[in-house]
């Protein structure tokens, strides 16, 4: 029966009204949409092509374990996860790993490399990071503790190493004060103003010499304390503005402490000789307490909710950690000629973490829940290979830190857990082979010949692939069935089940190898562990 026209019209009207009502209601509805879904909407909208499938359960598990626990899962963990039939098992795994004590270890490794860039080492700094992440200390609070370290607070005084690592003599070089100024900008605001030290930046219009000099006024008087056994700094009084000249001009300019793009902090008028609340004591070697401490002012001014650069910097760095690339890339070059790949996403993440009191763990959970994070690294089609990385059409392969690599290799080869001293020695060994040189950020996968030679020939590493009681090769050697052996090797080392082809390859390798079976197993496991697949977080 034909529907009368009027009826149709009426129905359309109802639909229209309903739609417009929905549209009107969109903002509150959107507000209730979890952040991870809003992330996915923005990414999908700008992808410009097909998106990769979601990662398999095995790929997801390996990835999330590396990100939150700093090492690959055991073969039992992989098997359990694959057999788990719960629909929300990924969410459950994310929550389990975020609640585990390994989370703080992993974050300590990441932030230690990021903030110190291999300049120095100190147990108290690591303790500060670990306890902060274990307690899920808000990022603004951590930043305050780093920028104005409290020498009298035993639990977090190690935070001073951010300063001391730059103020220590490095070889024959003098204390790197310009490097310190630069890194306050890079690490906490995402701007690298060092090239604006002597003149306005030549290529970045936003970076002015006054920005460098304003940051310099905050930390330029910081000095290293050498009388204590833990990292500590003091500061000399700042009585007047910093005077500077561009090498291209002759007029002198002046600035007090000022964040890039922010307001200048007024230096209170204090007469010389009256700078201290508690004067320094040469006998006791105490540095005294300043009436006006630029470092304390910095710690109060920089990590604030009304400083968007502070929030954008940390969300960009956490995004890089989880997705392999900053929304602003490089991480420390936020400026108007280098816009974020997804400006609205950066704004969204920044406002959300601000609203959530700079809760790092909360943001990491949302990122981990997103389809963007859980996408496969296998490209959806040929065109995606040429698509810009920032489209996130497939997940990006990410580097393993030397410690992630070590911990994963210990697991994969079934090495018994070492005592703390042996672990420290192994870490040094792996840092030497795989870490970037000091002062170089470690942000992307960067294989080296040195690393390849190390993996192939280092006596300690090679021995892990020899049969030893209860190690992986020993365990595999006890399996008489070649297929079962290969499957177990894949689960243990690459955290997945092999494909039919891979199984055939490996079984043939075991069969054709001219030598004892356990040697064949050694080489099979070595080949797996030295493959590209093991070497990256994919």
């Amino acid at each position: 029966m034909p529907v009368p026209a009027t009826d149709l019209l009426a129905r359309s009207l109802v639909l229209l009204i309903a739609l417009s009502w929905l549209a009107w209601d969109a903002p509150p509805l959107k507000g209730e949409t979890p952040l991870h879904q809003r992330i996915d909407l923005i990414i999908a909208e700008k992808a410009g092509g097909s998106l990769a499938e979601q990662a398999t359960d095995a790929e997801f598990l390996r990835r999330i374990c590396l990100d939150f626990a700093g090492r690959v899962p055991t073969s039992t963990e992989v098997k359990d996860f694959l057999l788990d039939k719960r629909a929300d098992k990924r969410t459950a795994m994310i929550d389990r790993l975020l609640a585990d004590t390994r989370y703080a270890d992993r974050m300590t490794d990441l932030f230690n490399i990021m903030l110190i860039e291999r300049r120095s080492k100190h147990e108290e700094w690591l303790k500060f990071l670990k306890e902060s992440f274990a307690a899920n200390k808000p990022w603004d609070q951590m930043t305050r503790e780093i920028l104005a370290p409290d020498v009298d607070n035993e639990s977090n005084r190690g935070s001073a190493m951010f300063y001391t690592a730059r103020l220590e003599h490095y070889g024959q070089n003098p204390p790197d004060v310009p490097g310190l100024v630069r890194d306050v900008g890079r690490m906490f605001l995402g701007v690298d103003v060092q090239c604006a030290q002597c003149h306005d930046h030549l290529f970045v219009n936003d970076y002015k010499q006054a920005d460098y000099q304003g940051l310099y006024a905050f930390v330029g008087t910081a000095t290293l304390r050498t009388d204590l056994k833990f990292p500590a700094v003091s500061e000399n009084p700042l009585l007047q503005k910093i005077a500077f000249k561009s090498v291209f001009a002759s007029d002198e300019m002046k600035t007090g402490p000022r964040l890039p793009g922010g307001n200048e902090v007024e230096i209170p008028a204090i007469t010389k000789g009256q700078e201290y609340l508690v004067p320094p004591d040469k006998k006791l070697k105490t540095p005294g307490v300043l009436k006006f401490s630029p470092m304390r002012v910095l710690a109060e001014t920089l990590p604030r909710k009304d400083n968007p650069a502070f929030a954008k910097n940390i969300v960009n760095r956490l995004w890089w950690m989880m997705m392999g690339r900053g929304l602003v890339d490089p991480l420390d070059l936020h400026h108007s000629d280098n816009p974020p790949s997804h400006p609205e996403l950066l704004d969204l993440l920044a406002s959300e973490i601000t609203a959530h009191a700079f809760d790092i763990k909360w943001l990491l959970r949302e990122l981990a829940l997103s389809e963007t994070y859980q996408r496969s690294t296998i490209l959806p089609d040929e065109a995606a290979a040429r698509a810009p990385l920032a489209t996130y059409r497939a997940a990006l392969e990410r580097p393993l830190s030397p410690t992630q690599l070590l911990e994963s290799l210990l697991r994969a080869t079934g090495q018994p857990v070492h005592d703390a001293k042996s672990v420290a020695e192994l870490r040094d060994r792996f840092d030497k082979a795989f870490a970037n040189p000091p002062k170089e950020p470690e942000v992307s996968v960067a294989p080296t010949v040195k690393g390849a030679l190390f993996f192939s020939n280092d006596a300690v590493v090679v021995a892990w692939f020899d049969r030893q009681e209860n190690n992986t090769v020993d365990r595999l050697s006890q399996l008489s069935d070649a297929v079962a052996l290969v499957d177990e090797a894949y689960l243990t080392i690459l955290s997945r089940v092999p494909t039919e082809l891979e199984r055939t390859d490996a079984v043939r390798f075991l069969k054709d190898f001219a030598g004892p079976r356990e040697r064949a197993i050694s080489h099979l496991t070595w080949a797996m562990a030295s493959s590209t697949e093991f070497f990256v977080n994919h």
Binding site: A243, S444, V449, L453, N457, V462, D505, R519, S530, E533
Partner: protein
């Protein structure tokens, strides 16, 4: 007023380095990997297989005690000149062996450069002292490694044989990225972990590497190529080095060669350098240290020059005899010369105003002297050449048109040698 104490380390150079490093950077394709605007040129140059031997005389050899002597003048010092195999060309009597090879050599006596300090001067000279564009330029070795690639040998393109410790000297590469840094063999010894552990036989190693490559190929399928390619490159290079262990085996040198080159470090290193060149390494740098003769200059040169003379003349003779000199460019130089004025410690100080270097080999005239200094050797008395002129000259000798070929620093085109300088035509064949 605060001091502007540290050097600018421009972020532009870091961006490019990170991206060139590959992996998660955005630069994909030929420009990103090679940093060269015209990749076709690299292919062509690979075919020509021209190589470089760069002898670095660290600290500053005295031009007056070597290539530009001024006997019987106020600053001339005690040494006489001797005739060479080229009539009319005379050099210091401290170089009798090199004098016999003069018909293979081209001496430039009119260098006039900008820096008289070691700390800045060494890098400034080896980076070609281009116009300051806020980026760190590559050392000549890294430049050649980037522009010409490793060639057929597949060995690392830039190898440095130096006294002391070795390693991967990534700083040399500047904005080109660590991949183009120097692979340094300290005292000519192999890099760490070069030797296969005794528990793994050669056949076993081949088998496990082959299996690894098969797994990598499967993994790379349908993934972005950058990470897999970078990983393949480093394992391939490691494998090549492991298979060429004989490069580090000094026992293969004949007694005669060892005596000809000298049993001192520089002689040994030069002989290892010859082996590297014979193996096809694109760029070999050999260092000699200890030339900073502020005190007792003449005794010091009396001690140093014979070692240099011995090893340098031996390798020129050998390269000429084997025909390799037709495709190997040889350069021997310091960061500056030494003052004509003799100081209170009977020494000579740093003098970039007027000094000399020597070249030989492909693309270079044989048996010539270019440029001259004044009577007392204090200043250049012909067209002065800066290091930028030399970079143009060397690139041209290697078949690279330094006027048109550019680096691509992440979209920023950069000349490969100083824009205002030009090649020294008088020395080019």
């Amino acid at each position: 007023m605060q001091e502007n104490s540290s050097l600018c380390t421009p972020s532009e150079h870091r961006i490019s380095r990170r991206k060139l490093l590959g992996a998660t950077g955005a630069a994909i394709g030929a420009a990103g990997l090679g940093g060269l605007v015209q990749p076709a040129i690299a292919d062509e140059l690979t075919k020509k297989d021209r190589q470089v031997l760069f002898v670095w005389i660290d600290g500053g050899m005295s031009q007056l005690e070597s290539w530009d002597p001024k006997p019987n003048t106020r600053f001339g010092g005690p040494f006489r000149t001797i005739r060479t195999s080229v009539p009319g060309i005379e050099i210091s009597e401290l170089m009798p062996q090199s004098a016999r090879q003069m018909h293979h050599l081209a001496v430039v006596r009119s260098l006039c450069t900008q820096d008289n300090s070691h700390s800045a001067g060494v890098a400034r000279i080896q980076r070609g002292d281009p116009k300051n564009r806020g980026v760190t330029y590559p050392y000549f070795g890294s430049a050649v490694a980037n522009l010409m690639g490793p060639g057929h040998s597949k060995l690392p393109a830039y190898v440095w044989i130096k006294p002391g410790s070795g390693g991967f000297i990534h700083e040399d590469a500047g904005f080109l990225g660590p991949k183009y840094g120097a692979l340094a063999f300290g005292d000519g010894k192999p890099p760490e972990n070069l030797l296969r552990p005794e528990s793994v036989s050669a056949a076993e190693d081949d088998a496990r590497q082959e299996l690894r490559e098969l797994m990598n190929a499967r993994y790379a399928h349908r993934r972005r190529p950058l990470v897999s390619d970078a990983n393949k490159y480093v394992f391939d290079t490691a494998k090549t080095l492991m298979h060429r262990r004989e490069l580090f085996d000094e026992s293969s040198f004949s007694v005669r060669d060892r005596e000809r080159y000298g049993t001192h470090d520089f002689g040994r290193h030069m002989l290892i350098g010859r082996k590297m060149l014979e193996a096809g390494v694109r760029f070999v740098k050999v260092n000699s240290y200890g030339w900073d003769t502020h005190g007792d200059n003449f005794n010091a040169h009396l001690n140093l020059m014979p070692k240099f003379d011995q090893a340098f003349s031996a390798i020129i003779e050998d390269l000429a005899a084997s025909g390799m000199l037709d495709h190997v460019l040889v350069i021997a130089m310091s960061e500056f010369g030494r003052t004509p004025r003799i100081n209170g410690h009977i020494g000579r100080d740093h003098w970039p105003e007027a000094w000399s270097l020597v070249m030989s080999g492909c693309g270079v005239k044989r048996g010539v002297v270019v440029g001259k200094t004044n009577h007392e050797g204090t200043f250049v008395d012909s067209e002065p050449f800066d290091i930028g002129h030399m970079f143009h000259t060397w690139f041209r000798a290697l078949g690279i048109n330094s006027g048109t070929v550019e680096y691509d620093n992440n979209g920023q085109p950069l000349p490969i040698a100083h824009d205002d300088h030009h090649a020294c035509d008088e020395v080019l064949a």
